[in-house]
Homo-oligomer: 497 residues x 4
């Protein structure tokens, strides 16, 4: 069965020669590095749950290529139900890990590439799609983890790729060879790449006809020569190295272990190239990816918020405020915001429609509302969590204070609230809340899958403003009379002349 176990996943990573830098230093073994291991632990959960019978339906699917049961994270969406199940899988994983589990980017990238390569071939008579299917079969068979890589550095935001002072601000082809191409550039905020098997590189924006070299989509092994990962600094990252109660989420990571992936003149053989110069399909590819991806946030952040709400509710018990009507009303508000985005993500999925290639796309308007609300709600939910958890969040003691016998008794004594709960429960819940509402976490929710304004641009395009104006015209004209109905609409005499 093509479903890796967690151990197989970890061991397969260990075999890769990934060139990664954390804290400015070259990492010997990513698997054993304390800053990376938590992210690997998180991904391991995605492998683990796929083996559990009770989660089989949401965690796996039957491949349309092979007919075999594969991990849902390598599956091409075959129905609206597949889209719904994806959201359910994300909420389950969010609840289980309390953080980002990274594989969604690769999943949506596979789907975007699948649909786009089909569409390019249909018009251009290229053979990208067949090539991509071969690649996909291997991904499914080996249950690989993929990182999608889309976001370019972008340089000066008011300029196009071809106008940048530094042409490398967007990944592009710098050399064309008989057997492939050489690419240069970087992708930023790359989720999970550092502990993936493969990187699926895609253009990060729509392109003009003069920007052919930027129209490149391809798969690159994570340890290909010229690929290097530079880990971004996260809020409170050094606590991962300290261990102890300050760590927040002790087993899992914060967000997705985002890194800068540098492509320093990386050679890509032809078999791994899925788009090469066809600029007019780039906008569509980005759009496909972003649309699927924006709906996801109603699932994963929903699961994460469940844990955050749980931690907050626990805090009110520890404090002894849990019976207060206004406190309960604030918990309800957290739940309400969370369920709104989950419901919308389900709606977007249930309204999924078939693309020309046969796979399924979520409703674009709904998917964009999900993400737009996330960019607001994580702040409002975090704020309510801070409200209920108290000032303690800002002044919690550290592990070291608990280890020094001169002061530990004071620290414990004076941080005990409801004595039914051990003080360590309070501290650990507090650190988890801090973790989940840190700048790194919030900003990921704000900007992942596109900034708020990106969603609004899609919404305006999707809004059908002119159709709405027609509806208003029809209603106020009063002319949409019911045929044969003897009830006259009121005269609107004055409107004449």
């Amino acid at each position: 069965m093509p479903l890796k176990t967690p151990v197989e996943y970890v061991e397969s990573l260990r075999r890769l020669k990934i060139r990664a830098y954390v804290g400015g230093e070259r990492v010997g073994s990513i698997v054993d590095h304390p800053a990376i291991a938590p992210h690997i632990n998180t991904v391991s959960k995605t492998y683990e749950l796929a083996h559990r019978p009770e989660h089989q339906e949401v965690m796996t699917a039957i491949s349309h290529l092979t007919g075999e049961r594969t991990h849902r994270y390598t599956h091409i969406f075959q129905s609206a139900d597949d889209l719904v199940k994806k959201i359910q899988m994300l909420r389950l994983l969010g609840q289980t890990t309390g953080t980002c589990f990274q594989r969604c980017v690769g999943l949506d990238a596979l789907n975007a590439m699948y649909a786009t390569s089909w569409e390019v071939d249909a018009v251009e008579k290229t053979d990208y799609h067949a090539r991509f299917r071969r690649y996909l079969e291997r991904v499914q068979r080996e249950d690989l983890m993929l990182a999608g890589a889309m976001t370019d550095p972008k340089g000066h935001r008011a300029k196009r790729p071809a106008e940048q002072a530094d042409p490398d601000q967007f990944v592009h082809v710098v050399e064309r060879r008989a057997d492939g191409v050489v690419i240069r550039g970087a992708k930023l905020h790359n989720t999970g790449g550092i502990n993936s098997h493969e990187i699926l590189v895609m253009p990060g924006t729509g392109l003009g006809p003069d920007e052919q070299d930027y129209a490149i989509a391809c798969a690159v092994p994570a340890d290909a020569p010229g690929v290097l990962f530079i880990f971004g600094r996260q809020s409170n990252d050094s606590r991962k190295l300290e261990g102890g109660c300050d760590i927040g989420n002790p087993r899992f990571g914060v967000v997705g272990g985002e890194a800068m992936v540098v492509f320093d003149n990386v050679f890509v053989p032809t078999e791994r190239i899925f788009l090469n110069g066809e600029t007019k399909y780039c906008g569509g590819l980005v759009n496909y990816f972003a649309t699927w991806h924006r709906a996801n946030y109603g699932g994963c952040k929903g699961g994460n918020a469940d844990v955050l709400i749980g931690a907050t509710a626990k805090m009110t018990k520890i404090l002894g405020t849990d019976k207060n009507a206004v406190v309960r009303d604030k918990l309800v508000e957290m739940v309400h915001m969370n369920e709104t985005t989950y419901a919308s993500a389900i709606g977007a999925s249930a309204m999924g429609y078939k693309l020309p290639c046969g796979s399924f796309m979520v409703d674009p308007m709904m998917a964009n509302t999900v993400k737009q609300n996330i960019t607001r709600n994580v702040y409002m939910i975090g704020r309510l969590s801070h409200d209920l958890a108290g000032g303690f969040l800002a002044t919690m003691p550290d592990q070291k204070a608990l280890e020094n016998p001169e002061i530990a008794p004071f620290v414990k004594k004076y941080h005990t609230a409801n004595p039914d709960y051990d003080v360590m429960e309070r501290i650990k819940m507090g650190r988890y809340i801090e973790n989940m509402t840190s700048v790194t976490t919030m900003v990921e929710a704000m900007h992942g899958a596109g900034s708020p304004q990106a969603q609004r641009i899609v919404m305006l395009a999707q809004a059908g403003i002119e159709e709405k104006i027609k509806m208003a015209d029809t209603v106020i004209s009063g002319t949409d009379d019911v045929p044969g109905l003897p009830l006259p609409v009121r005269e609107l005499a004055a409107t004449k002349g």
Copy 2:
């Protein structure tokens, strides 16, 4: 085919001897009364669209009782898809009429009664369900319009039905006869009753074992002796009588023509009684009704908001502000709020699950988020409409000013904005916006299907706070280790002792 035409609907109403009061006066013919006709026009649209081939799928369904194609407004939900189609029907009708089309209350009441009567019978060995199915068959066959009647006056809100100074503050049985019961009381805010064929009376709240007389559900013909309707006053209602450009929505009504229905010792024969004394099922009945009904608001208000957004967008063209980036961003915000609730309503429907009786219920948490957001968004959407449409909304000229030649030229001249648009377009769009954001309209959206706090009570019950606490406990304990995985979680030594 059991689908009435609009004309048949109107003629069938004409045959009823409905006792109705508008503006304090007994109405001769409801069909010809200018305050009621707009509401009849709106309902007529529901009959009309069911005959249009392009809308057949959303407007009709195959009855599970008869196998015949019936109006979706008399259909028992047989699948999640039926629930989704209901929401789509509501949005279509909302877009077509720009107001409330009233029949949803009856639809959800039929479904609530269907499921509850089944459940009562299953336990109590009564025969309400069979009785109700007979009734339902007639409703479907004759394509009747039903008004659900649930909201009691409630008297002192801190007291239960049996504690009220006036026992009639909740509808109750005042006499039991061999062939039926006599009921007394009233139902408030009753949507569509005044132009319905039948009233489906249900208890308005959960009841205690000592409140058996209040546990009564039954069907009453709208023109049964002892039934009278007292029309509530609406914002700007007298303009309906004036006609002209001040009317707002020239053909259709404002909200649902809400009335107080008085049951002044009304006799109900046994065949029309579907619950009688089984107090412990009342809470469930109310809950079923409310849950379906709360999801609806994402459909109907979504359609209404489409028209409002269209009217607002039109206003920006008339004013010449339509190219402004901030103006466009405000339109996007209106769209965003509107699509959020629509997406959630679709989500709630797509997650519909089978009840014991075989019919389908929406997801309760999602349904409640829909309504909760509506109680906020209508105000925010209205506010943005006012922002973009301008101060003109507060000082628009009236029809009479346009008819007086001394001043009409000034009125027209100085209210012309972009001269490409006739001044009457501006006035009529303005009046429609005023109409759609009037107190009557807003308050209906706020309190229909339950006040905001009612939704929050359900949400808290549905939130699974204890399960969420368990998730948080699991995550922060770090004990949910991946089996066999060699990566150790960081030591949490200090937590011991």
Copy 3:
């Protein structure tokens, strides 16, 4: 003493030959017209309270021209304390009348004209200021009511005055004579003009050098030949004519009785002209007026909201929900929003600074925040009022229903909530809330003294973004070292190179 009594005010109005149209008809006597009388009643309160010893300090001031005690509504602000007292006067009047009392526009117009005429003279060596002081002395001596008239129809919003298809879209000079000018155009949304003695006409926008004919400011008697008032239609305006419990605010008007004032070739003698062709001062004049006026909303709407909050709190007692913790929390939220804008208005006033002419201007940034918050808070406060007052607001019975003995007993019986309160109290409170949250009321709060975007333009100009960037540069550079302090700032070595 130059303080009119209410009776004197009314009688002085009666002597004017104001040409007004209400409901399309020429009004015989404005004083006796049921649509206008409520507005006159409101203004009468401003005259009445000035005679009450307990309110003397806020309602009157010592004229800097004559040394006599005059009405504060004709006073030129001589100190920050005068500005604070104005806000206090507005809150008192708002609490007393529960509506708009209209005289603020005239007051701020007098002050704007006073300061601008001084500034024009100082540069241009004109004599507008002396002329204006003579005019002002008469206003103070006779305690006149003035309407400021600023808002032009504006036509196509993307075009300047001189670019409009119809040159009359902004008031302008159409003829220049030896003894004065003839003006043509209209002013919209004019508050109080219909029951004022005088209209102070001002340009409505900044002007370019080629728009000299539009640079006209002057005083026009309300009954000057060529001046006519066309009353705008208000939400539920016809109820004023019906009387009874539906009226809302039984004694006073809704908002300010806004009208269109048409200047149909009105001759203005030189003595009444205070600006004539000096285009470059027009922006400043508008700005002065708007800035003072925006701060006002924290006072008047604060007082109005006090009454609305009171009516809402009363409703919770009538319903029996007043002890509920969440209900009380919602009342607190209404109070919080209201006091925020009041506090800001006081802040703007207390920070008042002296203008070149010697009078006092409020802090512009603070004044704009007041109005900006008002454009949001009135909706949120209204929403909470609707939430607490219940669905009743949308379906309240009308006066006629209470007069028909067939139904009056039902209406009373079933609208009685807590039986300690008479049902009429509930209805009247409900109607008042409807009144205060109607479209006319909300839109006035949104657009009066400038639309939301107008405030944001000022805020951006006032924000000192470049200064804030400098602050950030200084802080992050860490170079602002404390002289002589031995504590070194951490090395920032990497920043070099």
Copy 4:
């Protein structure tokens, strides 16, 4: 002159034998400790600016005790102007340091103690006030830094001090001696105590008559035997030790260096006791302190937000998005929220009123609105900053990456946006934004000076709900007729009977 220089302040700290723990270790010299020095640097600014002539008016005041010019931070408020100047001082210091400067707690504690001791003496014939004046004179003469200590650990929140399982959860007297008392307990979230000269201990809540031992207010030297400080852990605190570009605010601290202060059987001589057993004055003392303190947040957070807005605006220039209309509108929104709370704080101060002892108190309602808005606005301002600054905030490189020549060129190249700006500017601005929106910073703004609910309790008490109901009653009764005015109010006949 009793104004310390920064150097004198630092040297005076060096002479103290403060027992402090940071990171679980006893600190040798607080002045030289990298976690504490930034906080000392910040306070030094308060000393420094008092010597600058251009800031003399806001930074200093004339002591009413000695007639000498003293630091405003040791001054008893003698007028509303003193209150306004305090807010201005806070904004200036907030703009200068971009963080919390700590001395406000001591200032408001001095004022609260001053007023309360006067009031106790007036009734109880005690001599606390004279004693306190002697203490205050020394504070002013030596320009001491004081930390107010009010917040007790509080244990189980639903229990009173006397009901706690551990009686030490609130500071209390454990031994009474002839020459003083011995106190035990702790104060949490203590701002600035670790680098203060003196701690002013006050009860943290209103007390019942049986809680006399908890009614203790006194001054304790920061290095008194039995006093120890345990530094709370802050977000990203270890970066202070690393130095480099990750530090955020390179010179100054994050928030106020909050610590737990333990009073481990501390002896307090009589001369330093200002309240001892008079339980009924404790609520008032807390209230005085909290009211002054809540208004402060409009000043200090206003200044901090100026820097944050500046940093965000700078980021838009670096990115090249600064010309975008929607981007600018978001900056305006940040400014708007910030100026709203500043304006309210000024309003609260300008409305200051004289207390019985002669000092001045801010308007309580306004002061509470300030803090309530802060608890919301810091999140919304932070959110907009994240929106505009981009995903970069979550994945910025660290100092070490910039020092490793293998990767530094990539890091710099791919984080260069608008090439007019050096990449280090972008990183440092980003780190400062992260710093200012970290959990520690947000939570301090949320809970400092009392949690949101604490403000709402005061607001409800201050709201005058009954008076507002009376206003509503008066308005809707229509009985408040203008004497002698011939205009009749509309008949309300139906209201009778």
